[in-house]
């Protein structure tokens, strides 16, 4: 009997972690990794940091060398897009028309950058999600004196603005929220970041983009950007616009499958299962976090790896339960486990590293403590309904950061968490 393959769709952080984990946890059958980008799996966080800055070249972003990939024995299909899935028969359709019947599927297709109508036709309006995007933006940022408008003052917009400023460009950061990153980290930490951006010479504006001003471009390049029109009627001259206005889960290709809920990501249960034999991981997955209750979806690098591993493990456990003898003869049958990570993300801007654990967005209570303003040493505690849900650290030694993680690893009453944060960050 030829065994059916397991397939992982999306060959980036979550997909690679899933594929590696399937092997580590004992899957010896065929394993197909499908990714629509032409590149070997690479890392995205450096795109808005070292790559944009020019300190790293693209090769440095590869998550694994070919020597590391080879032993996995992957049927690696790069430059290949999955266009459909029949969940009941676990059959994928690929863009060449091929149908691939699988024993199980892990979906790790991530998210795509949101854009604005007409933006694609204008020379000078860019997004930043892929390596190709980052190289295109970097190409415009070499040589000085650009006038860059970053639209969107979330994490991505703030990071790109910081790098562009360090490269000496004139940078305007415009967002709907008056305080940058306030939705992710609250107004207190956001205000500290705003201060730093201003001190470095970034112009911060509140507002919404209404459209773009252009002039006829040379040859076939289409219209060339000359400025950004804001909803209040004002005009910002610009030769480059970065749209950093969020992203859309890459679930369009699953819409034909009515067994799946694709509202804001692929809906999964606590085991990261979307349907029998169909799992999801990473930025695309919205799942029932057993501790935090509500279905959650994170666009965080650490979650991509952890969830890829969890989905792999749970898929194998499900297959082993379906066919007790066959699945993985060498490994003892595992139980499926709910995926209950302590969420984590970081962001680097100028010399400042923010590290956040738990839930920092959507808090109804935030306490931000600046321990040392000159060194940007800061701690913030986030809570909802009287329970501490998240913590953020900047400029703190790693031992303290780990202690802060422990504070919110399990939900604590606000006052108790506050005390523990104070103890964890006390000098010494």
């Amino acid at each position: 009997m030829t065994a059916l393959p397991l397939a992982v769709v999306g060959a980036s952080a979550a997909g690679l972690a899933a594929a590696e984990a399937l092997r580590r946890f004992g899957w010896t059958g065929p394993l197909t990794l499908i990714g629509d980008e032409a590149h070997l799996p690479y890392d995205r966080p450096p795109l808005s940091k070292q790559l944009l800055h020019g300190t790293w070249e693209a090769e440095r972003l590869l998550l694994r060398s070919t020597e590391q990939l080879d032993p996995l024995g992957l049927d690696l299909r790069l430059g290949t897009r999955a266009t459909g899935l029949d969940a009941a028969t676990r059959t994928l359709t690929l863009d060449g028309g091929e149908r691939l019947r699988c024993a199980g599927v892990i979906i790790a297709t991530g998210v795509a950058a949101r854009t604005l109508p007409g933006a694609a036709d204008i020379d000078g309006v860019l997004t930043l999600r892929t390596l190709d995007d980052a190289l295109a933006l970097r190409a415009r940022m070499t040589g000085g004196g650009r006038r860059l408008v970053v639209v969107g003052n979330g994490v991505l917009g703030c990071e790109a603005a910081a790098v562009a400023r360090e490269l000496g460009h004139e940078v305007t950061l415009i967002g709907r929220d008056p305080v940058p990153m306030s939705r992710a980290v609250g107004p207190g930490v956001g205000a500290l970041l705003a201060e730093e951006h201003r001190a470095r010479g970034v112009r911060l504006l509140t507002g919404a983009v209404d459209g773009f001003e252009t002039e006829p471009g040379s040859t076939d390049e289409g219209a060339r950007l000359t400025g950004v029109r804001l909803a209040d009627g004002s005009l910002l001259p610009a030769d480059t616009v970065l749209l950093a206005i969020g992203s859309e889960p890459a679930v369009g290709w699953l819409r034909g499958e009515t067994a799946l809920d694709t509202t804001d990501g692929l809906r999964c249960d606590a085991y990261c299962a979307a349907a029998p034999g169909i799992y999801a991981a990473g930025d695309v997955a919205r799942w029932d976090h057993p501790v935090h209750g509500a279905p959650l979806r994170f666009e965080h690098r650490m979650n991509a790896t952890e969830q890829g591993m969890a989905a792999a493990r749970n898929l194998l456990a499900e297959l082993a339960a379906e066919t007790p003898q066959s699945a993985a003869p060498d490994t003892p049958a595992q139980e499926r486990r709910p995926f209950a990570p302590v969420p984590y993300f970081w962001s680097d801007q100028y010399g400042i590293k923010l590290q956040a654990y738990g839930l920092t967005a959507g808090a109804d209570q935030v306490e931000t403590t600046v321990i040392d303003p000159a060194e940007h040493r800061t701690v913030a505690l986030y809570g909802r309904g009287g329970t501490a849900t998240g913590v953020l650290a900047a400029g703190l030694p790693p031992r303290q950061v780990r202690a802060l993680r422990a504070v919110i690893a399990t939900p604590l009453p606000w006052e108790e968490a506050r005390e523990r944060v104070r103890a964890a960050t006390a000098a010494g």
């Binding site: 440095r60 998550l63 950061v401």
Partner: protein
């Protein structure tokens, strides 16, 4: 097992220290990974493999 690291890529997430505290630590000043034992005993191998797999910056490389 032999561990090598590319410390320049480290993003100081500290996940390796949580998983294998006898093998990895972080520098006080910037949180960058430090290898305490680059040829760890067999009872550490599973944890080290897990740490290498989970590292969000692909810093840890393992050699047979």
């Amino acid at each position: 097992m032999k561990i090598t690291i590319d410390a320049d890529k480290c993003c100081a997430a500290g996940q390796c220290v949580l998983i294998a505290p006898e093998v990895f630590d972080q520098r006080d000043e910037d949180g960058v990974v430090v290898v305490l034992d680059d040829a760890p005993p067999a009872d550490q191998h599973d944890a080290v493999r897990e740490a290498a797999a989970i590292c969000p910056a692909a810093v840890i490389e393992l050699h047979a």
